[in-house]
């Protein structure tokens, strides 16, 4: 039996691993995920030093001091808004991915029902002794293979739909890659802002302690005003960072999910085409009739071009099937194996999809919660920005380094 098991498709078992759901990322852990170079850190540190010197030099009651404090409340606004603009888009991507899965699932179900009708094991005993009636109405075997001819357009249509679905998955992944590249950039900027905010926090506290002996009134204002806002801002930035990191990971999950699904679709198409090729060979061996399946042959060529390695595999297998069909006493069993391959692939996809859907749902739920939380911070940032539209911006010393 061992040579019979090596049938129409690759012998390695199809394994589709659903990715694990993305855990919730806490703000405390969000910082430091995008590494900053020491060069960047020292440059940002210099800016903070310059800013604090400037701030301390001002009279606490002057408008200039107020403007400096406004710059603290405004810092990182642009970066936060930019990062938040991604969150709107990355939330709907996993949801759309789940819809896409159902499209492909529909095609797979249709393929399965069509293939089931052609399954030799479901067609009763095909190899019974030829009776008198068979001689008049044609053998069961010839009738069985005649079904292939009527099914070929349908199967061809489904396989084309699956190929289109695969293209859509790839397009989806391409968009995710672009999105992730942009998010990585935003995260780099946010990380810089987080670094500024934390350095500012430390240095302001040190400065206030230093001033305690010399100018206690100024130290008090520094603590209650500048330091308070710096801490609040630091928290906002970290929250946004956490949400963005989580979105970044969630997109990776969708991408991996798509990659697995693409593998599944590839395999389903290949096994189907393989089974049909086997049928062609077996039909020739058993009935001495050429079973013409033009569309399948055409499709075989196109899928072979698209799916890497399929063409070589199919070529090897065709030779083997020929050999088996000619030598084996039970060519029907070869055909049954080929069908079993299709079922195995589809079962693997089904199990994968069930688990992947679970992961996806968990991820979307956590993400939704985090995004909702961060929306509050964004609203606060916007309010602050509208109150002091003229301060901050690119001229502020507390802006991220460009590039």
């Amino acid at each position: 039996m061992s040579e019979v098991t090596a049938t129409a498709t690759a012998t390695d078992e199809l394994k589709l691993t659903p990715p694990d759901p993305v855990p919730s990322v806490s703000p405390e852990k969000a910082a430091g995920l995008v590494p900053l170079s020491t060069d960047q850190k020292s440059k940002l540190g210099e800016r903070v030093d310059g800013f604090i010197d400037d701030l301390v030099a001002q009279d606490v009651n002057s408008p200039a001091f107020g403007q400096k404090v406004d710059q603290i409340t405004n810092m990182g606004r642009k970066e936060m808004l930019e990062a938040a603009s991604h969150s709107n888009r990355f939330l709907d991507r996993p949801i759309r991915a789940m819809d896409r899965d159902t499209d492909i699932g529909q095609n797979l179900i249709e393929l399965r029902t069509t293939v089931e009708r052609l399954d030799p094991s479901a067609n009763g005993k095909l190899l019974s002794k030829r009776g008198f009636l068979d001689k008049i109405f044609g053998g069961k075997v010839s009738n069985y293979f005649a079904q292939y001819r009527s099914a070929q357009t349908h199967i061809g249509g489904i396989l084309t739909a699956l190929a289109n679905g695969k293209d859509e998955l790839l397009m989806d992944n391409a968009a995710i890659d672009v999105e992730r590249r942009k998010m990585w950039e935003s995260m780099g900027k946010l990380e810089q802002m987080v670094h500024i905010a934390q350095t500012l926090d430390e240095k302001l506290e040190a400065k206030a302690n230093e001033l305690d002996g010399i100018d206690p009134a100024k130290a008090k204002v520094l603590r209650e005003n500048a330091l308070f806002y710096a801490r609040q801002r630091s928290q906002d930035l970290l929250t946004q960072m956490a949400v963005t990191v989580q979105g970044y990971l969630a997109l990776d999950l969708v991408k991996k999910n798509n990659v697995e699904l693409v593998k599944g679709v590839d395999r389903a198409s290949t096994t189907t085409v393989g089974a049909l090729k086997t049928a062609i060979t077996v039909a020739q061996a058993m009935t001495n009739q050429k079973l013409v399946l033009e569309q399948i042959t055409a499709l075989n060529t196109t899928t072979a071009n698209i799916i890497d390695g399929t063409s070589k595999m199919l070529k090897d297998n065709t030779a083997r099937i020929h050999e088996q069909a000619a030598s084996s006493t039970i060519p029907m069993e070869t055909l049954q194996r080929a069908f079993q391959n299709i079922y195995d692939t589809m079962d693997a996809i089904d199990t994968f999809k069930l688990k992947a859907l679970d992961s996806m749902k968990t991820t979307v739920n956590t993400l939704e919660g985090e995004v909702a939380k961060s929306k509050g911070y964004i609203a606060r940032a916007e309010g602050a920005a509208q109150a002091q539209a003229s301060v901050g911006g690119a001229d502020s010393p507390l802006a991220a380094l460009e590039g």
Partner: protein, 243 residues
Amino acid sequence: MSMSEVDKIRLSAASAIERSRERRRPIGTKSVALRRQHLYKKLGRVLIASGVVLLGAAVFGALIQPLGFTGLLALFILLIGVAVLFGRSPFPEPRQADLPRTDLKQLAGRTEIWLEAQRPALPAPARQLVDGIGVQLDLLAPQLQTLDASSPAAANIRKLVGEDLPELVAGYQRIPAGLRGEAHAGRTPDETLVGGLKMLEGEIGNAARSLAAGELDKLATRERYLQLKYQGIDGEDTPAGQT
């Protein structure tokens, strides 16, 4: 050797010409395009009207009676009259009040024309900024051709280009010329105008960039898709800047 009277007059005339040239200098390509479009339309109308007159004269000459000298003279005068009538219509200079309601496709060009008219009255640093704004408006204009007029982005741009920008410049002009250099609450109106224009230049540039972002993304996605499809799905990409 002292400068002769003629030289003096020549110099002052040259600088006057230079000034007037500077005054009418377009700040962007869209304003030029709009003016040219208007000119072509006008020329087209004159040509069509002249054609109709000539055709009428030919029909008259062939069917009713030959034109003769008087007829030719009348035809000639008629042609001049038609040319004057249709060629006279001046370019409809945009007014500030009309800008917020301008068709989105023409908004950038018409704002440029309006700014060109205001430009000579502005202080020197502001004039330079106005030129910069012209460049940004040129950048924005092609994207306004395809933008849905009811989208929030369109409303935002209409407000920025059609309202905020003209209002800033007009607000400056409402201040009597003598007071524009005088400090008010720490800043002179000249400085305030320059600060506001700088902000607007940046914002218009940002708007153009964010409008283009969608197309930029689409292009990058298409490229990545081709990579994924024809180079294999496992080709992991590393984001630029990842260190």
